[in-house]
């Protein structure tokens, strides 16, 4: 096992062998989670605090379950509404929590870079559960684990990421991770949802779904982030669905055994056709959710090992 990080702030700082370590360990935790006794005591005695400055049901539940299966004491704090309105700064909130001696802080925040900032001010391990449009590392790791288990490898695959790239931290983390593992990456979407300069990152950019999906092994759809649209990126949902919504017809351009992924929650009938999303022969969306818990268990386990080593050395 190689894992040298104090925090999991993004995919960018990780080396390929560290990514492989997380995925290998996560495979073990998939097996554990499928066994009758899902509980171990790996994180016994450690306190995990989930700080969500932005509402989330799925990610928070996944982290909570991961911590509990590993035997940590887990506390959830929904901060989307409370302290920010009282005028407390992010740093003050972090310092307050830090004083409660947590060991693992899981943080989601609407501003890019906010989790990095917070990690500088606390002395426990911090996991980024999504910061603004920057990174969402555990999502990219769970996607990678899903691909590796379905395709038998995580390199030299042709992978298309489709939709609202501009507002998506999932897209950024996936782009970095899949790039580090030497895959061929395509981004497909309307140019209004494509971030500037993204083609310089070594991926191919397509504006047409049929072209973009040609012969790919993996199709990753992104949620159309309606709540982030401050006006007029696309003409309408129905035109978006017509041009960019994944359905059987568009998927027919991909490799015959291509898998379909989506980070959830889905907008059925917008970025993905409902029937296709439920097609167990193509869609791996439910597996992604299952892999999410395992990957988060693995990440927290590895961070806790390093944390205990640091504390023992101190």
């Amino acid at each position: 096992m190689t894992f040298r990080q104090d925090h999991l702030l993004g995919i960018e700082p990780l080396a390929p062998d560290e990514i492989t370590s997380i995925l290998d360990l996560a495979d073990d935790y998939v097996a554990l989670s499928r066994s009758p006794d899902k509980h171990v005591e790996t994180l016994r005695g450690l306190t995990q605090i989930n700080m969500f400055f932005e509402n989330s049901t799925r990610t928070q539940a996944s982290f909570e379950l991961a911590g509990k299966r590993l035997g940590a004491d887990v506390m959830n704090m929904g901060l989307a509404a409370s302290s920010i309105k009282k005028g407390e700064t992010l740093i003050d909130t972090a310092m307050t929590l830090n004083a409660m001696q947590p060991d693992l802080l899981v943080v989601r925040h609407p501003h890019s870079g906010a989790v990095d900032l917070l990690a500088q001010k606390v002395n426990c391990a911090v996991l980024n559960a999504g910061d603004g449009r920057h990174e969402h590392p555990t999502q990219a790791l769970l996607d990678a684990l899903t691909i590796r288990r379905k395709k038998g490898r995580l390199h030299r695959l042709s992978i298309a990421i489709c939709g609202d790239i501009a507002h998506s931290r999932v897209a950024r983390s996936n782009l970095i991770l899949l790039g580090k593992m030497e895959n061929r990456l395509r981004l497909v979407g309307p140019p209004t949802l494509m971030p500037a300069g993204i083609n310089e990152l070594g991926c191919e950019v397509y504006e047409d779904m049929a072209e973009g999906l040609r012969d790919v092994d993996v199709v990753m759809m992104l949620r159309l982030q309606k709540e982030r649209m401050d006006g007029g990126f696309i003409p309408s949902e129905r035109e978006y669905h017509h041009l960019y919504g994944l359905d059987a017809d568009k998927l027919s351009h991909a490799s015959p055994d291509a898998i379909v992924m989506h980070p959830g929650p889905m907008n059925r009938g917008v970025e993905i056709d409902g029937t296709l999303a439920d097609d167990i022969n193509r869609s791996v969306i439910q597996e992604q959710v299952e892999m999410g818990v395992a990957v988060r268990m693995a990440a927290m386990d590895l961070l806790a090992r390093n944390l205990r080593d640091r504390r023992a050395a101190a």
């Binding site: 700064t89 890019s112 900032l117 603004g132 449009r133 950024r172 971030p195 500037a196 300069g197 993204i198």
Partner: protein
């Protein structure tokens, strides 16, 4: 009669473009003689002696946020940085938009600042972009230029009238060129870096669009106009054409845009958040070349004090701006040491051109010019420690940077305001 005699110096004369050994005499605040550098007087030890820096666009946070910067602290920082004239911005709280606030500022500056302070006033009331200020009264009260700071007057009709009226009074208007719709909410320049960091960004083209609009209005109104900062390659051809067409336009650039680029933001370092945001390396090199050619006239510090609280926030939420009075000279020396500019070229942009633009007699080493001088060692190395800065706010992007160029003494009107030489 007070006399200051300086000998054995290397004179930097931006007016003639010369660097030569020499000395000078200041009597009653004015340079009265230039000579070969021998004779009695203070031995400058062969260090560089140049006209003091004239810095257009300094934010002193009086009135309103004196905890960030006062006239006293800004004045001391300026003196230590070789800046002998600061031209202050009106973007205070409240804005300097009436003769009464301007008089308050002028009085505070007289009482507290050891360097010359020339105030700008707002072009529109409250910098709100709706109604022009009392341009005539404000000029009578001492306003040297009119500007809404970094706020763009989006209503073109309001701006046209303000520019027309300003022209009739012979006022200089200083504008910030940005297309306001495109730049709304931006914290970085569009491109690979901003995309990777997930920061809201603005295309460099927004600056060109803002400049194009204002150039059209100059053609309409004939006002004297200075662009506070040109920071992108794409805006330069428009500026060049406007000058070639004989419009009364000049432009500046901040030292940060000349010496840093977007990648310096690195892991969301908010001390590198400035307005407009730092640009690509290609843009930086283009504006450096434009300073060398004289297309961009003025280098300024765009001194903007911010306290720790307003910077210790996620990048998008953090305040913009960096202090620069004390780091302007050593940062600018990077351009000399890199071979981009000669000292005389640099001093043209730091001192002569801003003086000329404001109609001041300073900026030159000539008989009759004021004895506003800076003596500095162009090569002396040091590592910047932000906690040693004299500004009340220490938001510098150069913390722990290795720099060269140390101010040894500063004189304003022949009176020493900084340094140990006497």
């Amino acid at each position: 009669m007070t006399t200051l005699a300086l000998t054995n110096a290397r004179l930097i004369d931006p007016e003639t473009g010369e660097e030569r050994p020499g000395g000078l005499t200041v009597e009653d605040g004015v340079i009265t003689a230039l000579h070969d550098g021998s004779g009695p007087g203070i031995d400058c030890g062969g260090l560089c002696l140049a006209p003091g820096i004239v810095d257009i666009g300094v934010k002193v946070c009086e009135p309103g946020e004196r905890h960030k910067e006062s006239f006293r602290s800004a004045g001391l920082a300026a003196a230590a940085g070789g800046v002998t004239t600061i031209v202050t911005r009106p973007d205070t709280t409240p804005a300097i938009d009436s003769p009464e606030t301007l008089e308050f500022v002028a009085r505070r500056a007289r009482e507290a600042a050891p360097v010359r302070v020339l105030p700008m006033a707002a072009l529109t009331k409250g910098r709100a972009g709706h109604e022009m200020t009392e341009i005539g009264f404000l000029m009578d009260a001492g306003a040297v230029a009119f500007s809404d700071g970094d706020r763009v007057i989006a209503d073109t009709k309001v701006l046209t009238r303000a520019l027309t009226y300003a022209r009739s009074r012979g006022a200089l208007v200083i504008g910030h060129v940005q297309e306001p719709g495109l730049s709304a909410g931006a914290a970085a320049t569009s491109g690979k870096f901003a995309s990777l960091r997930g920061l809201p960004s603005v295309s460099a083209m927004a600056e060109r669009m803002g400049l194009d609009r204002d150039i059209a209005l100059l053609e309409m109104t004939g006002v004297a106009y200075h662009v506070d900062q040109i920071t992108t390659a794409r805006a330069l051809p428009a500026l060049e054409r406007a000058k070639a067409n004989g419009l009364d336009i000049t432009a500046g650039v901040s030292i940060h845009h000349l010496t840093l680029n977007e990648f310096d933001v690195s892991n969301y370092r908010t001390f590198f958040k400035v307005k407009p945001p730092l640009r690509s390396e290609d843009d930086r090199q283009a504006v450096v070349a434009a300073i060398a050619s004289g297309l961009i006239d003025v280098i300024c510090s765009m001194h903007t004090p911010q306290d720790e609280e307003s910077k210790r926030l996620p990048f998008e939420a953090a305040a913009s701006g960096a202090v620069g009075l004390q780091t302007l000279l050593p940062a600018a020396m990077r351009l000399v040491h890199a071979g981009d500019l000669t000292l005389a070229q640099l001093w043209r942009a730091l001192s002569l051109n801003p003086s000329d633009r404001l109609g001041l007699p300073s900026g030159r080493l000539a008989v009759g010019a004021p004895g506003d001088l800076v003596l500095f060692d162009p090569d002396a190395p040091f590592t910047l420690d932000r906690f040693k800065l004299l500004s009340k706010s220490r938001n510098t992007p150069f913390d722990e940077a290795r720099m060269q160029g140390v101010v040894r003494a500063t004189w304003v009107g022949g009176r020493q305001v900084f340094g140990e030489l006497t």
